[in-house]
Symmetry: C2
Subunit: 350 residues, 2 copies
Amino acid sequence: MLGPTIAFDAMGGDFAPTEVVRAAARLSLESTLQVVLVGDEPILSGLLAQSRHNPERIAVHHASQAIGMGEIPAIALERKSDASIAVAAKLVADGVADALVTAGNTGAAVLACRQSMRLLPGVKRAALASVFPTERRRGGKSDPFSLILDVGAGLEATAEDLVTFAELGSAYARVISRNPMPRVALLSTGTEEEKGPDEVVEAHRLLRTLPGIDFVGNIEGLDIPRGVADVVVTNGFVGNVVIKMLEGVSETVLELARYAYKERLLWRMGITMLSGGIRQLKRVTDWQQYGGAPILGFDRVVIKAHGRSREQALVNAGKVAAKAVVANLTGAMGGQAAWPEDDVRMAAEG
Amino acid sequence: MLGPTIAFDAMGGDFAPTEVVRAAARLSLESTLQVVLVGDEPILSGLLAQSRHNPERIAVHHASQAIGMGEIPAIALERKSDASIAVAAKLVADGVADALVTAGNTGAAVLACRQSMRLLPGVKRAALASVFPTERRRGGKSDPFSLILDVGAGLEATAEDLVTFAELGSAYARVISRNPMPRVALLSTGTEEEKGPDEVVEAHRLLRTLPGIDFVGNIEGLDIPRGVADVVVTNGFVGNVVIKMLEGVSETVLELARYAYKERLLWRMGITMLSGGIRQLKRVTDWQQYGGAPILGFDRVVIKAHGRSREQALVNAGKVAAKAVVANLTGAMGGQAAWPEDDVRMAAEG
């Protein structure tokens, strides 16, 4: 059985197109996925010729332009209508591919999806969701991850947007993390319902009576690394700061460890013995492992890989995208299945 | 020579009034400060009688009401005009005391100050500033601390407010941390000047040409624990989430260490050897050591101690308040000296 078709924005990201092509080549050999590489055809075909791959599983779709990481999304997309991200988003919107993966400019990806895809019923604003490691282990697999959204698809969020994020995040945790009833919390300045900005207070009021969501109330910054909630809801500005801080924490711990290393012989011995544990900590806080963060709210599966993604991270992003398609993520969020019902059942059974 | 007079909101905080009275009693014996305890006179005098203290250095000023930690500030202050925080703020505004220390409700403290004190010239919104430990060591004392503001005096901030926070934070770091030219940064979603919410983009533009400030541009969440800037400027909602997350980080590291402890004999030995280093890390991230966070923007010195403060933290808060008065913090921020010029000179020389 053939797997879903994933459109890769081959020109997006710090190491595009080389690492994107490598990832696609590996996926063509090691998985059942179909890959469409979207970008400069001569360059992509040239790179592909240098990598061992299965030509029956990879297609190249030409797009003559590319958007850089530092470009202003609205201006760049207007000037470059044939940008790889715009063309790739359209291929997915039109059903030529089942999901989109990009390591490029986040704002441009969100805007390109808005231009060609539809928002799910009731959704006014898409959200970028990201997992982060916590103290608490959850579920049968002792999974230490929580989900936080929005982490930067937008910057602001109304009370309505926050409620939508709660629903999207909850559905994602149910379908992808197989958590049957994820605990959802609003990030605020205090646990009391009247604490926080107006839109958070109003979202709290709305979520308290919303069916189908296990709303546990407000949490504070302190509760994030503790893992008090499975899904943390906030606006894109706050979420972006939070997720990038968590990215820095493992580094800071390693730095403090190095500092201790120099201080005392006993500590130095301790650090040496602990190095396996520290490596594990680094692994757990390493985004390369996760492959990518979903952009939720559109009627298609969209995975945003980290801008610094290399081959392995992009391979993982492709697999996450395929998993979301097969598990019918968009269907669980109130949209249509991105994948034929029969195939979903077969994939689930097999 | 007598030190400055500090008004303590004796009824504010989780362990008020007992721990506030204990702190005042200790300060009366161990420092040159004068203390005014503001709150229920019979209760305070009764507690004072149980603690060894110097009666010449402590006065009790009666206030019949108190505001709880969970009360809504505006409503509570309107209903309780004789609340200890309101009376204490007025004593400081009127010059009866030189500085205010409270461990009570933050919102009520800010509002009480607004009602009786004046904002400094050009300031429209006060900010709560807090220090946090970073990887980088700075200055002669190898100080690992950066300052972040606002962390919860308000929730929002206009571009103008953010510029004011930059000026207030820079002045505080110069005067209190003796950092002659602190590096000031805006917290945003990217280092590029066009990244982030409108008010951050506009504040960036204004700060680039502002004299007297070493503006290093935008930083991201990742840069906070690294200590890239000496003063981090953001709105009260984001700052509150950030500072509480940092509070949780030491706990998370300890938890991960405990987890490792159970896993492997080698790790267990490593942890045992490292325990001194972990204790040091805990100490460095422990707010009890710092005593309190300044509320900046008023023409008087105001120190907000943590709600969970006990005797030692409140003693430290009193000392920080006195240091700010003697160093003429409000004068450095464009206001008038809170302390006679001659005495400032004497204190600086002696």
